[in-house]
Symmetry: C2
Subunit: 328 residues, 2 copies
């Protein structure tokens, strides 16, 4: 099934909706759960009701179904307790470390890289990316991610896969100019990772069908930049699968229901697939052309992200964001 959140004047969590398979219709379900965050917390109690509503909606039987208005849609889950972002595409790690002349971590192939990102207020999928200072080097990062149930501390990677409830895509906004100094200080990302946006819809595994296997989504993430093709890297190339990322996050702590685990920037070695962030393209330009020609994002630049299934259907809806300059 597909779920989403309407923007709401009443709650920063938004208002839970069930969304039709074709992304065109929705129905509110306040009797089931007020928000997606709260639905995840009692998933075993609400899943059947939500699924039934989804089937009714797809069959044209749902009472009070309405047409989706893009501007009414918030991030699939507008806020949550933990966003643990991995960096599971080794090719991406190699390129961005090359760009900032940083060494590869000695545990590259054995321990996932992961940091905690902002999750107290995600951007809506069509919300502007606010920028206070363009010297920060504004970049997008196309990622796939999962939303988990409660995960107990020290879970195995195999058991962790069973805790995945929903899938999303996201734009992990990154401020490249702030990263070298932050990482040099030793405490990792903070200011360099502002609010990210999530896709409008979160979907269950059955919506992915055969594309969900081995703990990875075997589909390309389409990224368009200022209206032109930018990347189509396949998310199947995760070195660590989602079960391993969840288990890494849960090694010494329980994970709250509603935890989002990100894949890191989707990246393939095949250059024909393009990139899912500007940093990669810039590094490739430096390597292959001897100089960087692509700047970071400027006021008014737009980025679009979506993932289509093998039938060409848009699974998660579309992230489409414009960078907007804001005064300090």
């Amino acid at each position: 099934m597909k779920l989403g959140s309407l923007k709401s004047a009443k709650s920063l969590d938004g208002e839970l909706i069930v969304v039709s398979r074709d992304n065109k219709k929705a129905v509110k379900v306040p009797h089931v759960a007020p928000s997606l965050r709260e639905a995840i917390e009692k998933w075993s109690q609400v899943e059947k009701d939500l699924q039934k509503t989804y089937e009714d909606l797809n069959a044209g039987r749902a009472a009070q179904a309405f047409d989706i208005k893009e501007s009414d849609l918030h991030a699939a889950m507008p806020r949550t307790w933990l966003f643990a972002d991995g960096s599971a595409f080794i090719h991406h790690i190699k390129l961005v470390r090359m760009a900032r002349k940083a060494e590869m971590p000695p545990t590259l192939n054995t321990v996932p890289l992961m940091y905690q990102g902002e999750c107290g207020g995600f951007l809506a999928p069509t919300e502007d990316i606010p920028q206070v200072d363009f010297s920060h080097g504004t970049d997008f990062e196309g990622e796939v991610a999962v939303i988990t149930d409660f995960v107990p501390m020290s879970i195995s990677a195999e058991d962790a896969l069973k805790k995945i409830r929903l899938f999303i895509i996201m734009n992990d906004v990154s401020l490249r100019g702030l990263i070298p100094e932050e990482l040099a200080a030793g405490f990792g990302f903070f200011q360099s990772k502002p609010a990210s946006s999530l896709s409008p819809f979160a979907v269950t595994a059955d919506e992915l069908g055969e594309a969900w296997k081995d703990g990875r989504i075997h589909l390309p993430l389409e990224v368009n930049y200022n209206g032109a093709f930018f990347g189509k890297a396949n998310a199947k190339d995760m070195f660590f699968h989602f079960g391993q990322l969840i288990a890494h996050a849960a090694k010494t702590r329980n994970l709250a229901a509603g935890t989002i685990i990100g894949s890191g920037t989707v990246s393939n070695e095949d250059m024909n697939m393009g990139s899912s962030c500007l940093a990669e393209k810039r590094t490739l330009e430096q390597i292959h052309e001897g100089k960087i020609t692509t700047p970071f994002m400027k006021d008014g630049d737009t980025v679009e992200m979506k993932m289509l299934n093998s039938k060409g259907e848009n699974i998660f809806g579309t992230i489409f964001q414009k960078v907007r300059s804001v005064k300090k």
Copy 2:
């Protein structure tokens, strides 16, 4: 006023209580807000009602006041959207970096160190600290912290001080054995910073009186380890004050109402004040005695933290935790 949260079978946010100045009585206020997290989100609407209840409670006029049972108390705010932990005591930074033979960050005196910590489920103030593997080097860290209202992006340090709503103390549990490898990989702390505990009570600035000035709490944090004196470092020695820490956190993002900003381990240069974590004591042993004699925490070890005002009154209630081994 003093606020706290009762453990609740109905909500992971706990149940909001107003607590008497002497920490002995409490009253539930479901008509004002169900939880402290939700009260902070509409602070301007609820502050007066809470204050009135507090005055009635202290005057013995509050209906349905009840005696506080320590075991019923959760962390003052059991979960929230962001825990941004600074490291504002330079003496602590010097000692722990010395211990792991790491260089001092070049921006030590100009940019606060800060990371995002676990906030999806704090430990209660008397809850055991669960440990899956004692090779992780379990340590406590005594900190002071503030809870903020909504903070807009790019706020100044001066304006940020006005966004502080409540004060707490906390035990930031740290797994020292995991830190060197995590920091070497470049993404900062994750597994090395499991769930922390918060004091039972969160208080407004007026409860601190003259001790709250220059953006710092001018009082010693008492730490006892296995029943004996361990430290009494004064929290006034923060190099960066709380306004600066909040402004650092908010440089490129809005902070959700309910954000917790931690001071980092309270630490004074005067060795007579002891320490607020084992890592400091161990480093001082290495320097002054040539060898480390204090081990990290073992099964059954206890740590106690509290902060008394100039009249000897316990402001935040007491954190008292035992380390407990749990099976993987």
